[in-house]
């Protein structure tokens, strides 16, 4: 009996927490796929000028609507063909990754800051603060996101900065909800009480005792909201009230390709697949992180 306990203890000791975590990550194919694909897209966005000799804005009206490489009559110089203004489609696709990633990351950062501040305050202080925050979350949830974002972007005139700000100011609700409930779960635990008892200030208790224990959930929500922001920007641009031409946004490319849906469906297929793969990778990364950081809640 004593022996089995010893060997069990030894086994636990030999597998350090880091090793266990590594094993969980490499055993999770969705997470691996998410990391690899997302890293690839980030590299593509970063090194877009090195990957294509073409400029995404240069028009060539003599070489319009060249088909992509898998169709007859394609031009080896334009692997994914050219659009209705003769712009290289591959170059627009590669530079478009920058737009999507920038929107996803910055909008998630802004909404993350707002939502986390509100959620942590509500969870930690409770009482009236909680009432106010819960009320604000209810108001936000009641507003139709797409409609409000469209209206505000239209009023303020669409530009990349405006779209990012509007999305950042609209998408904080899930951060607030998740952070509030995560903080509620840890705020009365012993180590928090101990920190309070030795006289730590409120910011210190929140930042160094509570935040490290809820940051897992924060990262998961951040990935999901990043995907949400990317999809919303694409939808706004598709509806013509988001990022304005000639910016190479994937949503805008789909919108421009829609005019030629009948004869050239590949014009919407290419940016659509890119958008789908990017959002899929981010979602799988988020789901995977949730499984790995809290395997007991899997399902």
């Amino acid at each position: 009996m004593a022996r089995t306990i010893d060997t069990a203890a030894q086994q636990i000791r030999t597998a350090s927490p880091a090793a266990l975590l590594r094993r969980r990550i490499f055993g999770h194919y969705g997470l691996l796929f998410g990391i690899v694909v997302l890293a690839t897209i980030v590299l593509i966005a970063a090194f877009a000028p090195l990957l294509t000799a073409h400029d995404p804005y240069t028009q060539d009206l003599l070489a319009r609507m060249k088909p992509p490489f898998w169709m007859a009559g394609s031009d080896p110089d334009h692997l994914l063909g050219t659009d209705h203004l003769g712009r290289d489609y591959l170059a627009r696709l590669l530079y478009g990754a920058r737009i999507s990633l920038a929107i996803g990351v910055i909008a998630a950062l802004i909404s993350g800051l707002i939502g986390t501040a509100m959620g942590v305050a509500a969870g930690y202080f409770g009482g009236r603060v909680d009432l106010v925050v819960t009320f604000l979350i209810n108001v936000r949830l009641a507003m139709p996101v797409v409609l409000v974002a469209l209206a505000v972007v239209a009023i303020l005139d669409g530009s990349l900065q405006v779209v990012i700000m509007v999305l950042g100011l609209l998408l904080w609700d899930r951060f607030a909800v998740v952070m509030r409930s995560s903080v509620l779960q840890v705020r009365d635990l012993e180590y928090v009480n101990a920190a309070k008892a030795i006289g730590c200030s409120v910011p210190r208790v929140i930042l160094s005792e509570i935040m490290p224990n809820v940051v897992n959930n924060l990262i998961v929500v951040a990935t999901l909201e990043m995907a949400h922001a990317i999809l919303l920007e694409a939808a706004l641009s598709f509806l013509g009230l988001g990022v304005q031409p000639p910016t190479p946004s994937w949503g805008l490319m789909i919108s421009e390709g829609k005019q030629m849906l009948l004869f050239e469906p590949w014009l919407i297929a290419i940016p659509g697949v890119a958008l789908f793969v990017l959002v899929l990778a981010i979602n799988l990364l988020g789901d995977g992180l949730r499984d790995v950081s809290a395997p007991e809640n899997k399902g």
């Binding site: 009641a142 139709p144 409000v148 239209a154 995907a227 789909i254 849906l261 297929a269 899929l280």
Partner: protein
């Protein structure tokens, strides 16, 4: 129960008022609404005339109160573009959107609940993996792109369905699929998780021990309990879907309230936009209020807590 209902009702009214204030202030975000209506070539006197005509010279809160009390009576003002009462414009468009919403949520429930139950009955089986695959796809697929893909396949290649319009039931098939598929993943995941949890409960073991058939255990004992959170999620999703119908309606040129909202935003027709934001919000508020009541009625713990 009554106290709980009244509290929830009070919250719903407060939320509605706040949303109405926000959507009303949209008019003033653009700067001076009078010069926006007058157009670029209007002189100072014209702008002044429009300002008094529409009452923009009054204090903000007076204008808001005026708008709110008219809205309560169903009068949302005049559309700048059509020069018609907004309520008239919206009324017949709204029925199209409601129909689309009902079709969409029915499609989502009819696919998600059976899939979720089947997936929970045999975890890690082929059907479980298919259900997971479908929900992961659904969450990553941009709905406007999915709509276009359906148009390419069913309208252009196969010629089965009309790509746009509001003429008959055929026009609703693809919008229903797109809107329903948007709501399906969340419902499917919740059904599966709920069934898995319920199937581990003691009363399921008891039912099996009594010798109840597997079919009876699943549908009489398990599903009835697992479906409670699904109903409230469906109500919330329904509210989101009506708000999200703007994308779907604009792809298929389905002339509902969402399409009207899109057109009105493009035309700077703010009274119509304000009214639609308020109406879509109220749908969400009413649906969540009803689902809160239903939950409290089904589960006494919520009433007290």
């Amino acid at each position: 129960m009554l106290a709980f209902a009244l509290k929830r009702l009070g919250l719903a009214v407060l939320v509605t008022l706040t949303v109405s204030l926000l959507s009303f202030s949209l008019l003033f975000m653009s700067g001076d609404p009078a010069s926006a209506i007058a157009g670029e070539n209007a002189g100072a006197a014209d702008i002044e005339a429009i300002r008094t005509l529409y009452g923009f010279d009054r204090p903000f809160l007076v204008q808001y109160a005026d708008w709110l009390f008219s809205a309560l009576r169903g009068d949302f003002g005049q559309s700048y573009y059509f020069k018609l009462p907004v309520s008239e414009l919206i009324a017949d468009r709204l029925s199209v959107t409601m129909l689309l919403g009902v079709c969409g949520i029915s499609f989502a429930l009819l696919t998600a609940v059976p899939l979720g139950v089947a997936a929970a009955m045999r975890p890690n089986s082929f059907i479980d993996r298919t259900a997971l695959f479908l929900s992961v796809m659904g969450q990553a697929m941009p709905s406007f792109w999915f709509g276009l893909v359906l148009i390419v396949i069913f309208s252009i290649r196969l010629g089965w369905l009309p790509p746009s319009g509001t003429a008959g039931w055929q026009n609703f098939v693809m919008p229903t699929i797109v809107l329903g598929y948007y709501a399906m993943p969340a419902i499917m995941r919740l059904t599966r998780a709920g069934m898995l949890e319920v199937l581990g409960a003691d009363y399921i073991r008891t039912a099996r021990a009594k010798g109840a058939s597997e079919w009876r255990v699943m549908f009489k004992h398990a599903l009835r309990n697992a479906v409670v959170p699904v109903v409230s999620l469906a109500a919330v999703q329904m509210g989101f879907m009506l708000g999200g119908s703007i994308v779907v309606e604009s792809i298929f040129a389905l002339h509902g309230a969402g399409y009207l909202a899109w057109e009105s935003i493009g035309r700077n027709d703010l009274p119509t936009v304000q009214a639609l934001i308020l109406i879509f919000s109220m749908f969400y508020i009413v649906f969540t209020f009803l689902s809160d009541l239903a939950n409290a009625w089904l589960d006494p713990r919520i009433r007290v807590g």
